[in-house]
């Protein structure tokens, strides 16, 4: 069946409000009588809290209250773990240590909140934070992952024997055996450092307790309003129906707004109930660097065993993963890494050992990519090295190792981030790679352009890398669709939205079933009063899990429409069609009824209805996949390095993506462009620099460099569609894909651009400075 709405470049429903300043963000909430919060945060990364004196702060005019851990009494509790603990399989150790609302005994990372001031204005609240006298006894801090595991390291959590937070081994086949048989074994140490999500909107919470109606309303910059509601109700001793959490328009999410509960997220509602006043807290950018979660830091000792014709026999990876001061997000990131280290390749033998480490740094939780960029970096780097050592073309060695199209579903025999079996559902990799090579002009560049430019003294390099992205994990999402009396359609779903265009792409899914204009579909996301079952927007699952729940609801509503229209029009259902907001008999267009009229007839004010019928044209449905759908893609790039400044200029950039059925190519391209831009930051500009005392040295946008329009190139996007067999729409997630392969792509391109140095890049992020240092090292050793 040809589709009318799905797959079309339909313009976004939500844009007019966003473009005119009319869209509601959390900091736009203003309630009469609202007070403002500011936090005292630790300057030290590791310190014992000896005493705290808030009396001067409490006396400052305009200050309403000041709270410390002690003031919270029995309500002081560490946050709940965000994901279930890992299954108790063999060789799994996991120590759950979750973040605390306010420091009680010991500070474990710089920026950890110690006290909160509530005042008439944010200005006064910040003044009063300065009034607080806190006695902190600094302790030696641990920042380095390897040092943290040494026997003489200080302990982040004194009740544990070491800083090992978790240990887990996953095995497939027998790596040791194939290692002995291999023609080539590549063994390297690969280091991946930290970055920030840096959504343009910082976090924020407004909480309002209405004592008379006993209702708590919370506006929260969260990607997961329903779990926040459930958690708040439980912590505050309220029924879930007394708590309404709204995630309005969010100024970007990228993962850290999925972390829950942040200390502030628990405290602000708690204080709102205590004071029976609306309370607002808006994070500032400096706090965002110290109090919002980060990601990516890992150290890998990896091996790849190959035959002389470049076929991978097996891989081994023992790696350290930095969870920071606490580990509320469990093993999600390192499991993702473990799942992606074999990339899109047919690897029969695999040994992977995760060691999660506590340090005195800010907590890590998933950021766009979520452990996947690290795994893909390793797979692609090792293949590049193997290609060089074996004298095989980088494209050819990838083709030789791809999982073949007839091998799907491809079962890896290990578990994924959701503790389900890691199964790659579908794919056809080689045509995607070939399309990317064609679009970038690979052969022509190698044959003609590069030799010509090199002869002219220019340092130009090309690269091409592939990746998979596991997406669309469960458990489930749901949606309720209602045909209104005016013929417009209202849709409610539980996921939050942070700019992905849900108001449009989900409307297309509905329009496809109900034959209405996309602009007549009104979607509500992220308001627990509208829909209160679900989890959230994360793991590239919106279009897959929520999209298919909406599809299922739309199919059910379509069924109700057809049944009623069939009775009224006295025509069999299979002769009816839905078009232009009307139901009509296919061959007799004058025999029709509007959806609005049908909706009114389905909800009569008087008269008898048949027993057992439900009123209205409305349906609620859910979708939960058996396991996640896996997307695939290839990126290719040509860049030029300025040998004086080490700045790079990206000359051409190509993405070919297979994320199954495309709902809206325009929105998909936007997601890819943005992902690539973040990936470029991850690869060459953005790095959070900590010193040996675990102090963050570049906590401002002056010093933490995010790519601007002059660093991000024009990106050419190509699509291939291999629909997922796991869901009716055939969708796979795409939100994180753009980010995943970029560091690997940069490494290959830089090596290719600077052949005279014979560089081997085994770290990310790089920077012009770091590239300069790497080249100097090479010069010295030559």
């Amino acid at each position: 069946m040809t589709k009318k709405y799905i797959g079309k470049r339909i313009l976004r429903n939500e844009d007019p409000r966003l473009l005119t300043g009319q869209a509601l963000f959390v900091d736009d909430i203003n309630i009469p009588g609202m007070y403002h919060a500011a936090f005292l945060r630790s300057d030290y990364a590791h310190a014992r809290l000896k005493s705290i004196d808030v009396s001067a702060a409490r006396k400052r005019p305009g200050v309403i209250a000041v709270y410390t851990a002690e003031d919270m009494g029995d309500d002081w509790k560490p946050g709940p773990p965000l994901v279930s603990p890992p299954p108790t399989v063999k060789d799994v150790i996991f120590f759950s240590r979750t973040q605390v609302p306010l420091v009680k005994d010991k500070v474990r990372h710089a920026g950890e909140p110690i006290a909160v001031v509530i005042a008439e204005s944010r200005y006064i609240a910040e003044d009063a934070v300065e009034d607080i006298v806190v006695d902190l006894e600094p302790l030696k801090a641990v920042a380095d992952l390897e040092k943290a595991l040494r026997a003489d390291s200080v302990l982040v959590h004194d009740d544990l024997e070491s800083n090992l937070a978790a240990h887990m081994v996953q095995v497939k086949g027998d790596y040791r055996r194939v290692r002995d048989e291999a023609d080539l074994v590549i063994k390297r140490r690969i280091v991946i450092d930290r970055g920030a999500a840096a959504a343009m909107e910082n976090r924020g919470i407004v909480a309002n307790w209405d004592a008379k109606s006993q209702q708590l309303t919370v506006w929260d910059t969260t990607q997961a309003p329903i779990p926040i509601r459930n958690g708040l109700a439980s912590r505050l001793g309220l029924s879930a129906h007394q708590v309404r959490v709204i995630a309005p328009f969010l100024g970007g999410g990228f993962g850290p707004k999925m972390m829950m509960f942040y200390p502030e997220e628990m405290l602000i509602p708690w204080i709102a109930v205590k004071l029976a006043r609306p309370i607002k807290w808006i994070e500032d950018r400096r706090e965002n660097f110290y109090a919002t979660t980060q990601e990516r830091e890992q150290i890998h000792e990896v091996e790849m065993a190959l035959t002389r014709d470049g076929r991978i026999l097996g891989m081994s990876d023992i790696f350290l993963h930095d969870t920071g001061a606490y580990d509320p997000y469990g093993l999600t990131i390192p499991l993702n890494t473990q799942n992606h280290t074999m990339g899109p390749y047919d690897v029969a033998n695999y040994y992977s050992e995760i060691k999660v480490v506590f340090t005195n740094k800010i907590i890590t939780t998933p950021i766009r990519g979520a452990g996947r960029p690290q795994g893909i970096y390793i797979a692609e780097r090792l293949l590049d090295i193997a290609a060089k050592e074996l004298g095989i073309d980088p494209i050819e060695i990838r083709k030789r190792n791809y999982i073949p199209p007839d091998a799907f579903p491809y079962e890896h025999g290990i578990i994924d981030q959701a503790f389900s079996p890691l199964i790659l559902d579908s794919g056809n990799y080689q045509p995607v790679l070939e399309k990317a090579a064609t679009l970038i002009g690979y052969d022509e560049f190698i044959r003609e352009e590069q030799p010509r430019l090199r002869a002219a003294g220019r340092h130009v390099g090309i690269s091409i890398v592939s990746f998979i992205e596991t997406t669309g994990v469960g458990p489930y999402e749901g949606a309720r669709i209602t045909v209104e009396a005016d013929g417009k359609i209202s849709v409610a779903t539980g996921v939050g939205t942070q700019g992905q265009g849900h108001f449009t792409s989900f409307a297309q899914v509905v329009a496809e079933q109900l034959g209405v204009d996309v602009r007549d579909v009104h979607l509500v996301t992220g308001d627990t009063a509208e829909f209160h079952w679900g989890t959230g927007t994360f793991a590239s699952r919106g279009a897959v899990v929520a999209g298919n729940a909406i599809h299922a609801s739309a199919v059910a509503v379509r069924g109700k429409i057809l049944k009623l229209a069939s009775e009224i029009l006295k025509a069999p259902e299979d002769e009816l069609e839905l078009e232009g907001g009307q139901v009509r008999v296919a061959d007799i267009p004058q025999m029709s009824i509007s959806l609005g009229e049908l909706a009114s007839r389905a909800n009569p004010l008087r008269g008898a209805v048949e027993p057992g019928t439900e009123p209205g044209l409305e349906a609620t449905a859910y979708f939960g996949p058996k396991y996640g759908a896996t997307a695939f893609g290839t990126h290719a790039m040509i860049l030029e390095v300025d040998p004086e400044t080490m700045m790079v200029e990206i000359k051409r950039y190509v993405v070919v993506e297979d994320c199954g059925t495309v709902i809206n190519p325009l929105i998909l391209e936007g997601q890819i462009h943005g992902g690539v831009a973040m990936g470029i930051g991850n690869a060459y500009y953005e790095k959070l620099v900590y010193d040996e005392n675990a102090q963050l040295l570049n906590a401002s946008l002056m010093d933490y460099i995010i790519p601007t329009a002059t660093e991000v190139p024009r990106i050419v996007v190509g699509h291939q569609e291999t629909p997922s067999p796991l869901n009716p729409l055939g969708t796979k997630g795409a939100g994180e894909a753009g980010t995943i392969p970029v560091p690997a792509l940069f490494a290959q391109a830089l090596e290719n651009a600077l052949p005279e140095y014979n560089l081997e890049i085994l770290e990310t992020p790089l920077s012009p400075n770091r590239l300069f240092e790497l080249l100097k090292e090479k010069e010295i050793s030559r």
Binding site: R9, R12, E14, D15, P16, R17, L19, T20, G21, Q22, A23, F25, D27, N30, P32, G33, S55, R58, P61, G62, I64, A65, D71, E120, Y123, A199, M200, E201, F249, G251, G252, F254, K274, L275, R277, R285, Q498, G499, Q500, G501, E669, G670, I672, H673, G674, G675, A677, M678, L701, M702, I706, T708, A709, T710, V712, R714, I715, V716, V717, G738
Partner: protein
């Protein structure tokens, strides 16, 4: 400030027993200065604390929340407004500095039913994702396009290089500006379409 507050915090009395000071009481407004300014063609007279940021004044005193604050240190560009026609970062100015001046914020540019051609182009080229940086980018571009009605791609990229967007990767923003340049010239100068800039190769379907 009620004197019994300390007692209350630890004793957990019901909140209704507390006598709150009136909201924004004079007590906390230690020292204020009278300012008069024009925002979106409306004249305002207000008393403000000298330290109040212009961004906070616009957002919280005038309720013009379309000006977004992303970094409060003048780097991200989200809070850009037009100050006497020039783009400035409202987080780097005090409200008192705007005394006697004229400001345009995003609310003054167009409405959902009557969009400025640049705003319309952002819809058509998908130049918006989360929309947080958008107000600042649009207002940066208004004087830019006035001074350079036919920019090329590099000029556009340079013009918005002081505005960080974390969602779009900038490409669709650049496309939107090129589209707007074409529209504005067509509507204002009666130019014909064939003279307009060529759109980038992969623009549109």
């Amino acid at each position: 400030m009620p004197e019994d507050l300390d007692d209350w915090i630890t004793s957990n009395n019901t909140p209704t027993s507390i006598h709150y000071p009136p909201f924004n009481s004079e007590m906390s407004m230690s020292h204020t200065i009278e300012i008069a300014l024009t925002v979106n063609k409306i004249h305002y007279e207000r008393r403000v604390e000298p330290r109040m940021l212009l961004s906070d004044f616009l957002r919280h005193e005038l309720g013009l929340t379309g000006t977004h604050v992303g970094c409060e240190h003048g780097v991200c560009g989200a809070c850009t407004i037009l100050f006497d026609g020039q783009p400035v970062r409202s987080c780097l100015m005090f409200a008192v500095q705007a005394d006697g001046h004229e400001i345009l914020s995003i609310e003054g540019l167009g409405t959902p039913d009557n969009l400025h051609p640049l705003q319309q182009s952002f819809i058509e080229a998908h130049g918006v994702q989360c929309g947080f940086c958008t107000s600042g980018i649009i207002l940066t571009l208004i004087p830019f396009l006035e001074g350079n009605p036919h920019p090329d791609e590099q000029e556009i990229r340079h013009a918005i290089s002081g505005n960080i967007c974390r969602c779009t990767g900038y490409q669709h923003i650049v496309d939107a500006v090129m589209l707007a340049a074409e529209k504005i010239s067509v509507t204002q100068n009666g130019r014909i379409l064939s003279e307009a800039k060529d759109l980038p190769p992969n623009y549109g379907s």
